[in-house]
């Protein structure tokens, strides 16, 4: 990606990747953590199921993910919303604060595809509930890792412009209503990364995720994001 950021939308502002399973390198420890085992290790049979299902994961087809960069001319940041031409994201003030100093925006999407969760479902219906559940969890972790991967691609693509990255924010988090998912995908080409959005905002395949990242010379990544948030009852709150 060599185009200059002041250049308005061109094909070069949209990039799609095909990420192989080995590239994501999911570890048994990461899956254990996602299941809930903190520092203590999982029982042997769970560990064995994780290892068996990671082998299934390793033989999966590559996953699709990608981003679109909206350059400074296409986006205006406000304390509680982002205006991208006709599309206005009502992100709320938590995300607004997190994007302070940003001048450009990247829209990210990733999908583990339908195969892993379908195989998980079949395993469950065949009486292999543990294996099926583990594979489903691996697919969730895969989506998260695809987003991480996209962030590093994004950093690499924009570093030469002196841009840094903000934290990543997803519709449905930090006070941003998941109903805006449709608007989000209206800025990406149809079937972006194989994802379609239902009227409820649900992405299909289920194991998909979307997020935005602020960009710019003054973009800032904050460590203790949860402490910024005022939603005391949030289930993923982790500020101790």
């Amino acid at each position: 990606m060599t185009a200059h950021p002041d250049m308005h939308e061109t094909e070069s502002s949209v990039r799609e990747f095909s990420v192989s399973p080995e590239r994501l390198r999911l570890t048994p420890e990461a899956i254990e953590r996602r299941i809930g085992y903190g520092d203590e290790s999982a029982p042997d049979n769970v560990r064995a199921a994780i290892e068996e299902m990671l082998a299934v994961f390793d033989s999966a087809d590559p996953f699709r993910c990608g981003f679109r960069i909206l350059d400074p001319g296409q986006v205006a940041f406000h304390p509680d919303r982002i205006v991208c031409g006709k599309v206005i994201f009502r992100t709320g003030s938590i995300i607004g604060r997190g994007l302070k100093g940003c001048s450009a925006l990247a829209l990210l999407a990733a999908s583990a595809g339908p195969d892993l969760s379908e195989r998980g479902r079949v395993l469950i219906s065949e009486g292999r509930e543990l294996a099926g559940y583990v594979l489903d969890t691996i697919a969730s972790e895969c989506v998260e890792q695809c987003l991480e991967h996209l962030e590093s691609e994004l950093a690499a693509a924009t570093a030469s412009w002196g841009w840094r990255l903000s934290n990543r924010y997803s519709p449905g988090y930090c006070g941003w209503d998941v109903v805006e998912q449709a608007k989000f995908f209206s800025l990406l080409h149809e079937n972006f990364c194989g994802i379609t959005v239902r009227s409820s905002g649900l992405m299909v395949p289920l194991k998909s995720a979307s997020a935005l990242v602020g960009l710019g010379e003054n973009a800032e990544r904050k460590d203790y994001e949860c402490s910024l948030c005022d939603r005391e009852d949030c289930i993923i709150r982790n500020d101790g």
């Binding site: 239902r198 409820s200 649900l202």
Partner: protein, 227 residues
């Protein structure tokens, strides 16, 4: 009788630990020991009342599993193993009960509401509710309000459980509850899923909210007289 209580205790322990049968290698410290499968068979051969095996053996074990899960000392995999052990034990008991009603405390109709395709959390609820002695009719995902109503029509004694995973699809619970209450005002409804709250349950006229499967079991049991 000492032998009776000790075998029932062992059955409960097999459920707690997810020990399905003798052949299953897990958990490692119970390797080469009998599991729920063999012990329930033996209990029947000893002449213990099947109802007692069910309530004081299998269900007692499952109750502990629920408590441990809620306290985050065990996680979904252990619950799945426990449910498997439970099923292995139940297989032997079924023939002793004339009808499914006799083996069950009641019926739960479970489904993920219209617009939502999430399945796994709802299935876990179903498994644990079954383990607590209830019959579960799982309508699947993306279930329209009228399909819930039709299911209650077929089994009017049921309690209904609704699941949703997004704040948007959660809104479809409102319509479902309204339609159910209109057609069957006496039907009890419990709702759950990651974004759902007790306040939302009140707002839409559902009878209860629970954050997890043991909570669903508690509510279900509260709707029937203790056995």
């Amino acid at each position: 009788m000492k032998e009776t209580s000790s075998i029932l205790q062992s059955i409960a322990q097999c459920i707690e630990r997810g020990k399905v049968n003798r052949a299953s290698p897990y958990p490692p410290d119970l390797r080469d020991r009998d599991g729920a499968d063999e012990l329930v068979r033996r209990a029947i051969d000893l002449g213990i009342d099947p109802q007692e095996i069910l309530t004081d053996g299998l269900m007692t074990g499952m109750k502990v599993v629920g408590e441990e899960f809620r306290a985050k000392r065990i996680f979904v995999p252990e619950v799945l193993m426990a449910a498997k052990a439970m099923t292995a034990g139940m297989e032997h008991l079924r023939p002793f009960f004339a009808s499914s009603q006799a083996t069950h405390r009641g019926v739960m109709i479970l489904g993920t509401v219209l617009g939502d395709l999430h399945d796994i959390g709802k299935r876990l609820v179903g498994m644990m509710v079954e383990g607590a002695g209830w019959e579960v009719i799982d309508l699947g995902t993306d279930v329209a309000p009228e399909d819930f109503v039709a299911a209650v029509e077929r089994r009017p004694e049921s309690v209904v459980g609704l699941s949703a995973l997004l704040t948007t699809t959660m809104m479809n619970m409102k319509e479902t509850v309204a339609r159910l209450k209109e057609a069957h005002p006496e039907t009890k409804i419990i709702i759950g899923g990651a974004p759902v709250t007790v306040a939302f349950a009140h707002e839409i006229g559902a009878d209860a909210y629970a954050p997890d499967p043991p909570g669903a079991v508690d509510f279900l049991n509260s709707t029937v007289a203790e056995i």
